[in-house]
């Protein structure tokens, strides 16, 4: 890679000033004047019921109410990958909290009062609240019309069942592999649902103006995907992409929860119902938990066969996912895991079944880590247990099996570059692996854990990016892209890439959040792929601008373009050291000729990027033959923790994480992702604990009862480590890092707790309560009660794991 000056530096964020001065606007900060209407939804009280009648007559007459809309008005389905989500339910409700109707009124208070007057008549159906109920023979079906839903060709819903998708990956001969094994371990791990908890709840204002134009101001990671999903869903109303505009100001945290479309479409149809007046829909914190998307729960069965030498010879990984009432996005999480559940290891014989199951629980979707956090908990816990069983050091065991460039992935394509060995070495060194620490206190014990991780962006094979660049009179630049600034620093990194090519300083490049009318296309800001994908588009746009700068000066000054180059915001000449033409002197007005005419004109450029080598068309029975993932980012994390043997409380003394960023475009931002991701990951490991009542109602949809970390809940020390093995097709060698940083947290904590006190927990979260019970010899499953955090009743070890319930 060539030497860079701006890429690899850590300039001040381009959005830093606006955010710290309070001028950064979020959707709820936008004013729409006194004509603004407010929508409030009526929520289902039932997990599964036939919708007999929605009586809106009293609500319609309530003071301040202008309209009440229901499924009769908008009988449409929508979805990102499969159209199995209803704008409003038609014949049945599928989870507690589902929107049955929306009341539109002059004030939020009037809408709220009237929503209570809507009378919904239900005829209860048996609720499918466990995976075993969902998968049993003659199960009650959530989606009897499953086979009629539009979907992408690489989803395989099973008609007549509750299986929304089933990804099968087969490599080698897994039975033969187990026969070669000297040792086989098989066990079950469970991971409950989790909530994203961005501090900004979803908010959207829609306006369907009198000319038939639908504009939505949305808190979203996906303006273009939203436009597309809405255009497809609202096609029966005559709307198309040209009629829909999505404007996305700053987003107050996404973590995957603001990807795709969830509640936004309610505001869209409310606006359509109230043509000419803006309508706002602002989710409460409770709704943010219940009716956007959650992280799926999973029960994973891992069977691993190894040689005495430590070589893994076979892996069978079976995962049943609790997708909730719709799987339009969640099924792609399942798909991603189905392709990658070997973890970052070379395994010759692989059998993965990743099964997406409908339940009468809130819908699930993308969440930072996209399924990888969930499957790494079981897989990495298993890695350590297998190593210990064959008398091998767990870190050495990982080194032996660590994947390398060129290895054949489970689906047949070759592995990309990435220094997993280096990451393991650095983390092991940082936590002084192999050197036990004895607690100085009698009531506590100290343990260490280490886990590897990998992750690829999960995206359609034609997810593309585009960028526009234009100069201003003063030589400053406007860069327009449609990746979202969701806190990760995307805008800054894009400015750095343009700056690197064009020599214009980052502080002279303005990059704003998108508007689908004005900004070029971006599929979505998900999968930690925009630095890589949109970065390539920005670089291409900058190269086009550079070529125009050189050509303009060459033509106007009659110089050979090959002798010209850019430096310090000027075009300079290799053959004439005195020649220097500052950009600001010609990038708009052109260059004056002896006769007084001008050559040149406004200089601008565009760029785009499409990963042309990818394909989702692998064999459905084996996943062989396609190239579904663009690349993986690998890394390793380790922890030293202290467990209080009386209370079971875990204190994190030190965490270290090494990740191969390819090239850290902005190292300080990469470190910010590492620190933030570790704290978020540790919270899922230790105390974020979602609970549902046996009737499917979410019990703790608030920050009092669902604890996310405060400033008092951080590790005493976090060590971020960046490795740089260039990604050949990445901008300046970069690949994504942001989601990855929470993936290893749960298994490393489970390992370290086991190391400290000899208790192996296989059900997340690893709460103080569970640890304390285990230390007293009490099985958590015996005392856990009925209010559970995942769609599972009974004991995980009693669960029948015949694949997909067959």
């Amino acid at each position: 890679m060539s030497k860079t000056t701006v890429v690899g530096a850590s300039p001040v964020r381009v959005d830093g000033l606006a955010k710290v001065m309070g001028s950064a606007q979020y959707v709820d900060d936008l004013d729409f004047g006194p004509g603004l209407l407010h929508a409030v939804v009526v929520e289902s009280t039932q997990a599964h019921a036939k919708l007999k009648k929605v009586d809106i007559s009293a609500a319609e007459k309530a003071p301040g109410v202008v309209r009440v809309i229901t499924g009769k008005d908008f009988p449409f389905t929508f979805g990102l990958y499969m159209h199995d989500r209803y704008i409003f339910p038609q014949d049945r409700v599928r989870f507690v909290g589902e929107q049955v109707a929306a009341v539109i009124a002059e004030t939020p208070e009037a809408a709220l009062r009237a929503a209570k007057l809507v009378k919904v008549h239900y005829e209860p159906l048996p609720a499918v609240l466990s995976l075993s109920d969902a998968l049993k023979k003659d199960a009650v079906l959530l989606h009897p019309k499953l086979d009629t839903y539009e979907r992408v060709p690489w989803f395989y819903p099973q008609a007549g069942t509750n299986i929304a998708h089933w990804r099968k990956t087969r490599k080698g001969d897994v039975e033969k592999g187990f026969k070669q094994a000297d040792y086989i371990l098989e066990d079950t791990y469970t991971v409950p649902r989790y909530a994203h908890c961005p501090i900004e709840p979803h908010a959207v204002t829609g306006l369907y103006d009198l000319s038939g134009r639908l504009t939505l101001w949305a808190s979203s990671q996906s303006p273009f995907a939203q436009r597309n999903v809405m255009a497809l869903a609202l096609k029966p109303l005559g709307l198309s992409h040209r009629d829909i505009r999505i404007v996305t100001p700053y987003v107050g945290g996404g973590f995957g929860g603001k990807a795709g479309v969830s509640m936004e479409i309610i505001a869209a149809v409310a606006a359509i119902a109230m043509k000419g007046r803006p309508v706002k829909l602002h989710w409460t914190r409770e709704q943010e938990f219940m009716n956007t998307s959650q992280r799926q729960g999973v029960i994973a069965r891992v069977k691993m066969g190894v040689k005495k030498s430590g070589e893994i010879v076979a892996l069978e990984h079976t995962l049943h996912w609790d997708a909730g009432a719709s799987a339009e996005y969640g099924a792609n999480v399942v798909n991603a895991v189905g392709l990658s559940a070997t973890g970052p290891y070379r395994v010759p014989n692989v059998k993965i079944d990743s099964v997406c199951v409908y339940t009468n629980m809130p819908p699930c979707g993308a969440y930072r880590g996209f399924g990888y956090s969930e499957f790494h908990f079981g897989l990495e816990s298993h890695m350590t247990r297998v190593a210990q069983a064959i008398g091998m050091d767990p870190v050495e065991f990982r080194r032996i099996n660590a994947i390398r460039e060129g290895d054949t992935l489970a689906y047949g394509a070759p592995m990309n570059a990435g220094d997993l060995q280096g990451a393991i070495d650095q983390v092991a060194k940082e936590i002084r692996w192999g050197k036990p620490v004895k607690s100085k206190k009698s009531n506590t014990a100290i343990g260490k854990g280490l886990a590897c991780f990998w992750k690829a962006p999960a995206m359609p094979p034609n997810a593309s990016s585009a960028a526009f660049l234009k100069f201003n009179e003063d030589g400053s630049l406007n860069l327009t892209v449609s990746g979202m600034e969701i806190g990760q620093g995307f805008l800054t990194v894009m400015a750095q890439i343009a700056s690197e090519v064009l020599t214009v300083p980052v502080e002279k490049i303005r990059v704003e959040t998108p508007d689908t009318d004005r900004n070029p296309y971006e599929w979505q800001t998900v999968g930690s792929h925009v630095t890589w994908s949109c970065g390539n588009a920005v670089r291409a746009a900058a190269e086009e601008v550079k070529a125009k700068l050189l050509a303009t000066v060459g033509r106007a000054r009659k110089l050979k373009v090959k002798d010209l180059y850019l430096a310090d915001e000027c075009v300079k000449s290799r053959t004439d050291a005195t020649f220097s033409m500052p950009f600001r002197e010609f990038v708009i007005d052109g260059i004056m000729q002896p006769k007084g005419n001008f050559i040149g004109g406004p200089i601008q450029g565009s760029g785009m990027f499409m990963p042309e080598f990818t394909s989702a068309l692998g064999d459905p029975a084996t996943s062989q033959g396609g190239h579904p993932n663009v690349h993986y980012t690998v890394g390793c994390a380790g922890v030293i923790l202290e467990v209080d043997k009386e209370t079971g409380k875990t204190t994190i003394l030190k965490a270290a994480l090494a990740i191969d960023a390819g090239k850290a475009v902005h190292p300080e931002l990469v470190k910010g992702q590492i620190v933030g991701g570790i704290v978020q990951g540790l919270a899922t490991a230790l105390y974020e604990d979602i609970r549902y009542a046996p009737n499917g109602r979410l019990l703790n949809p608030n920050f009092t009862d669902y604890k996310i970390p405060t400033a008092l809940d951080c590790p005493q020390e976090i060590v971020p480590i960046i490795l740089e093995t260039p990604q050949p097709d990445g901008p300046f060698g970069a690949r994504g890092v942001a989601e990855h940083t929470m993936i290893a947290c749960a298994p490393m904590v489970a390992d370290a707790i086991a190391d400290a006190i000899g208790v192996r927990l296989q059900t997340m979260p690893l709460t103080a309560e569970k640890v304390a019970l285990a230390l007293r010899g009490i099985d958590y499953d015996e005392v856990k009660g009925d209010n559970l955090g995942f769609c599972f009743r009974g004991r995980p070890c009693d669960y029948s794991f015949s694949i997909a319930g067959q």
Partner: protein, 163 residues
């Protein structure tokens, strides 16, 4: 409806409010003050933090009628003469990510430093424990507040701190 008058960011403001309206709703809906954010509506997240007579409070838990005659400061009032030392440091250190919690965090940290110019790390963490941030892991926030306190203490050793 009842008229109330209070100092808002240094100027007297009068506004008609319902007896059950929160300070947050009045600031955002009637006075054009948008930096206090609504993250939970029940005092859990701290995104709506404002200073009431210099103390950090949650404006979603205070009724507007309660602030009659008092002084309310929001982030709009903090940076009127350009960024403060704390704001400058937050910008230079690239502290915030999504920025939604930033107004509340900045006000809570400002209130802490006004009351306790040389806080320990534990005191900073305690003072900010009511302001949730889902992005940063708090480390850059805490480090920056401590660094600013240290720097300010050095610069003002000869000056008396107003108590």
């Amino acid at each position: 409806m009842k008229p109330i008058t209070f100092q808002l960011n240094g100027s007297a403001r009068s506004v008609w409010v319902e007896p059950n309206e929160t300070l947050l709703d009045v600031l955002r809906g009637k006075l054009g003050i948008k930096t206090p954010k609504e993250g939970c509506g029940r005092g859990d997240c701290g995104a709506c933090t404002v200073l009431l007579d210099g103390k950090a409070v949650r404006s979603c838990l205070i009724l507007a009628v309660e602030v009659e005659g008092q002084s309310v400061t929001t982030l709009e009032g903090v940076g009127q003469k350009g960024p403060t030392a704390l704001q400058k440091a937050f910008i230079e250190n690239n502290v915030f990510q999504c920025g939604f919690c930033a107004p509340g965090v900045i006000l809570a940290a400002s209130a802490l430093l006004a009351e306790n110019p040389k806080p320990s790390e534990a005191e900073v963490r305690e003072a900010l424990a009511g302001n949730l941030c889902r992005c940063t892991g708090y480390e850059p926030i805490v480090k920056t507040v401590l660094a600013v306190a240290k720097k300010t203490a050095r610069q003002s050793t000869s000056r008396r701190v107003r108590s």
